[in-house]
């Protein structure tokens, strides 16, 4: 698969980047998104537009509301205000399940794998909605069961090969080392054929070399699938290197948006998040 050369042209309002893929409409738009949790505005007036093949970083201090944004996008929480447009379609009233079918997949900050299932079964579980054989076919092992299972297995191995994980396909997911568990979560999310992939702190707990490896993998995924990726991350080198655009949250409010370079030199961000001297980012 070769990457299509995307053409960036300026788009004025609300967008995170001054330049974007103009040939198609943005894949995800959040307009005035907000939620009140326990009397506190956890996220307020959140606006974000994500292009079809953009990688967007969502950063901010702990408790800034980053994961809450993911929970809003995936409808774990229903927003109290605002609109989320996915492919231009309002997701109002949709459930987590429907949003996933519409094209948003995610990983979790605290890994949530199906621990007792094998690595391959974790991925196949995510392919459930594209398999169509019914219970009777399964019980009687009818031809369409076999056909679809074979197809699913092939695709599972292909997906696992992105992270070089075909070898552990039959191992229980819970027994994988930490880093591999994080990668498996990404594969599982990809198996649902998303158009937007949400990664919640994919590099958390990884050492620098693992992080670098992860960065390559995310790039590879992006190249292969040509999808939008939003990632929450505390590792600044990863965010600055990989993202087309960055959105900074603090106390539930967006305090800055822009390219990595702009964010690095933005005084409000430095003040609120990176610390006073930009050479020594506070983690």
């Amino acid at each position: 698969m070769t990457r299509k050369k995307t053409k960036y042209v300026p788009v004025p309002s609300k967008s995170i980047l001054p330049e974007r893929d103009a040939s198609r409409a943005p894949v995800l738009e959040c307009i005035n998104l907000g939620i009140t949790l326990g009397g506190i505005k956890a996220v307020d007036n959140f606006n974000l537009t994500v292009g079809r093949t953009e990688i967007v970083g969502l950063i901010g201090p702990n408790g800034a509301g980053k994961t809450t944004v993911f929970n809003l996008l995936t409808k774990v929480y229903q927003p109290t205000t605002g609109t989320i447009l996915l492919d231009g379609k309002d997701t109002h009233g949709m459930s987590t399940i429907q949003v996933n079918r519409a094209g948003i997949a995610r990983t979790f900050q605290n890994i949530r794998l199906f621990k007792n299932l094998s690595v391959a079964d974790n991925v196949k579980a995510a392919m459930n909605n594209e398999m169509h054989y019914n219970m009777l076919s399964a019980i009687l092992r009818l031809p369409n069961y076999k056909r679809e299972e074979i197809a699913a297995h092939r695709r599972t191995l292909k997906l696992l090969s992105i992270f070089d994980m075909q070898g552990v396909a039959d191992v229980p997911a819970g027994s994988l080392p930490y880093g591999a568990q994080r990668r498996l979560e990404i594969v599982r999310a990809l198996a649902t054929n998303p158009s937007v992939l949400l990664l919640d702190e994919p590099a958390a707990g990884m050492n620098p070399s693992e992080t670098a490896e992860l960065m390559d993998s995310i790039r590879k995924v992006h190249e292969m699938f040509q999808i939008a990726i939003i990632l929450i991350e505390h590792d600044m080198s990863l965010v600055m290197n990989i993202c087309d655009g960055i959105c900074v949250l603090n106390f539930g409010q967006v305090i800055a948006k822009g390219t990595p370079d702009e964010i690095q030199s933005n005084p409000a961000v430095i003040e609120a998040y990176l610390g006073r001297r930009k050479e020594e980012p506070k983690s």
Binding site: T67, N71, V76, F108
Partner: protein
């Protein structure tokens, strides 16, 4: 007038449910577990009281006191042996353990005291107050039951809101980790809650057996399940909810017996539980807690 009679017996039965439900609700509020064996602690309380009064000729109120002490100890032992090692375990495992404990208590009682029903001596003189020229009669036991329930509710509410231990209990039910960091001994608090709940179960046992004077090893299980229903009905974890749920369930049960069918009254009670959980999954006064993602 018949209606009023039914209503009063409903309130009386409901008061017993409420006292039992308090035990369920306090333990659930703090340990987040269904102590399935709670109903059987009632039965043990009934037997202790029975033996103290009928066999050793104790004053009935002293007998109840002995039962309270015995059940409190039992509660602490059960908690220590079976539940404490499972603090971190999945709730399914804890529930199965509690069911096992319920069976254990029932069958130990069966071996110790046989399945022959014992006729429980009323803890107060049998008799009744006649009102409205005798058209309405309220038995002494009924009055005592309702009064005990009100006193227990009042004392418990004060205890939880005013005392150190009560505050510790509330803190643990909100957030065990934070409570621990504030210097509260969470394990001791949970054990204490079990102790209090079991002590209350002993009182409930004595009252239950005074109102329905047959005592068997299985005496506690059905009232236990119904009191649990009452706790869920009122919103499990909420003390006023247990009170409200208990009273309402008692009234519903008596009315169902009187006006629908005595054989189907249990079915009606359980149907009420199901309807309540569907309409309000966290019960009448319960709080809805969302899982953190």
């Amino acid at each position: 007038m018949i209606f009023l009679n039914y209503f009063i017996s409903g309130i009386s039965l409901g008061s017993i449910y409420a006292i039992i439900a308090l035990g369920y609700t306090m333990v659930y509020g703090i340990a987040k577990m269904l102590n399935f064996a709670h109903g059987d602690v009632i039965m043990v309380g009934g037997y202790i009281c029975f033996y103290a009064v009928a066999r050793y000729g104790m004053n009935p109120f002293l007998g109840v006191a002995v039962a309270v002490v015995g059940c409190t100890l039992l509660g602490i032992i059960v908690e220590r042996l079976a539940y404490k090692p499972l603090r971190q375990a999945p709730s399914l495992a804890v529930l199965i353990t509690a069911i096992g404990m319920s069976y254990f208590l029932q069958n130990t009682a069966l071996l110790l005291w046989s399945s022959n029903p014992k006729v429980f001596p009323s803890i107060i003189e049998r008799g009744s107050f006649k009102l409205f020229d005798g058209r309405l009669s309220v038995s002494h036991v009924t009055v005592l039951t309702i009064a005990s329930c009100l006193v227990i509710m009042g004392v418990l509410t004060l205890f939880i809101s005013k005392t150190r231990l009560g505050k510790a209990m509330r803190a643990c039910s909100e957030d065990k980790g934070a409570a621990q960091l504030m210097g509260i001994n969470v394990n001791a608090t949970i054990s204490m809650t079990f102790a209090i709940g079991s002590g209350l179960a002993a009182i409930a046992g004595a009252l239950l057996c005074s109102a329905y004077p047959t005592l068997m090893p299985t005496t506690g299980s059905l009232p236990g399940i119904k009191a649990f229903t009452a706790a869920v009905f009122g919103g499990i974890g909420s003390v006023p909810g247990a009170f409200l749920g208990g009273l309402m369930l008692g009234v519903i049960e008596i009315f169902a017996k009187a006006y629908i069918s005595s054989q189907l009254s249990d079915a009606v009670v359980f149907a009420v539980l199901i309807v309540v959980l569907l309409v309000k999954p966290s019960g009448l006064l319960g709080r809805n807690i969302q899982e953190k993602v």
